[in-house]
Subunit: 249 residues, 2 copies
């Protein structure tokens, strides 16, 4: 059984305003739920699942830990799911807070300047996690990383990266030694950059690219060589290509 | 003015069955329409546009050529558009046919084995066009490249690539000298492959990867080094990364 107020609470977490008020977010599906339950950074608040799920994952369903558990009917899962077709299990988790102070780790990190598409945002978080990039600094107008679509798109990687939403110029001013590399269409050919030991790769908005005020603060602009005629590459694809060339293997 | 039968005809082109019967497809928005009108391979059948568009692009609107032109009201554009918000102009184009025989060009081409997400399909076509890959051989279960979502996602690149939908095993059997490189999670590290003068890169289905029957026919399996913990990369992102390392700059 699920109460009306539970349904209302979960649905409200589709909105950024309520995610911030409640300091919580939603994730769905066995794969992502397993990853979040395993992550030390994630605190489960509530777990709703179908009888099928608890049969398939008895160890997960029965594992001691925080959070209330509710076995509910498939029809009730449909009432709370953000997916077109609900996927066995839905969890409400505490939204992790960025560490204070936010200390930059060694290696390469990402700066996202106005990534607005939730699909791109989730894919970029997954790419970061693949290449071992642990920190993403996001302008306040980026898509919210804890929106249901972004969480699903990140495929669980959201549990393994640190995200800081903050105005970018003051952040850069507060980190004077930081080398910024911006992805642009008219910079140095990527091949010449070699591997980077450290620095921050800036990815700009899907249609406008990196903000000129940020561009003015970058150490180097990098461009993926174009051999054909497409005008641009998708922001997430460009992030993947750039990181694959810049990180040390 | 737009007639009921015109509305019905355009809406029917949202379905693969009717696109094949009518041998036509739909594209929308000034940028993509401009690119398709400029492409020698594309034949315009019908063009529907708002008064705003013909003011903004008088040269395009007035350019002589094939295809009937209809200036219609914004409200009528809403009735025929496949977009959430119609974008000034919608064109119906003749679906280009793959050349017979389909002769493989020099350089690198792509083989798509069950790419089912229309967004990925469009993004992959755009990536191919960026890196100068001119031919894509697609298994019959791939998303249809002429579906409205794919056409929009390709951002006009669909005008500049050749697509062949065909069962992959007979295609491979008919091309005995062809070197197939498959993207997998357990192959040779990408760094060792170097640049390729020619060959075909096989990208597999989003969740199942490359079909084992096709894998058995590949020359080499390639893997993008993973430094973090994400389980996989999005199929389009992986295509972009692999091509960026394999094509000669």
């Amino acid at each position: 059984m699920i109460t009306k107020s539970q349904v209302k609470y979960i649905q409200s977490l589709g909105q950024k305003k309520f995610r911030e008020e409640e300091n919580a977010f939603v994730a769905e599906g066995p794969k992502i739920i397993n990853e979040l339950l395993e992550a030390a950074s994630m605190e489960l608040l509530e777990l709703y699942y179908s009888p099928d799920w608890s049969k398939e994952y008895p160890a997960v369903a029965g594992r001691p830990g925080t959070g209330r558990r509710y076995e509910i009917k498939e029809a009730d899962l449909e009432r709370i799911s953000f997916l077109t077709t609900p996927h066995q299990v839905l969890g409400v988790f505490r939204k992790p807070m960025p560490p204070i102070p936010f200390l930059l780790k060694e290696g390469i990190s990402l700066m996202l300047d106005g990534i607005q598409d939730p699909g791109n945002m989730g894919t970029i978080i997954r790419i970061a996690d693949w290449f071992g990039v642990q920190q993403l600094v996001c302008s306040p107008d980026c898509a919210d990383a804890f929106a249901p679509k972004v969480v699903q798109g990140s495929m669980g990687s959201i549990a393994r990266v640190q995200l800081l939403y903050t105005p970018l110029e003051p952040f850069i001013a507060a980190h004077p030694g930081l080398k910024l590399y911006a992805a642009t269409l008219g910079g140095q050919p990527l091949a010449g950059a070699g591997k980077l030991k450290e620095g921050m790769l800036v990815i700009g908005n899907e249609s406008k690219g990196v903000n000129p005020a940020i561009l003015a603060l970058t150490y180097q602009q990098l461009t993926i060589p174009r051999l054909g005629s497409a005008e641009s590459l998708n922001a997430a694809v460009a992030t993947g290509i750039l990181l694959s060339h810049l990180v040390e293997w």
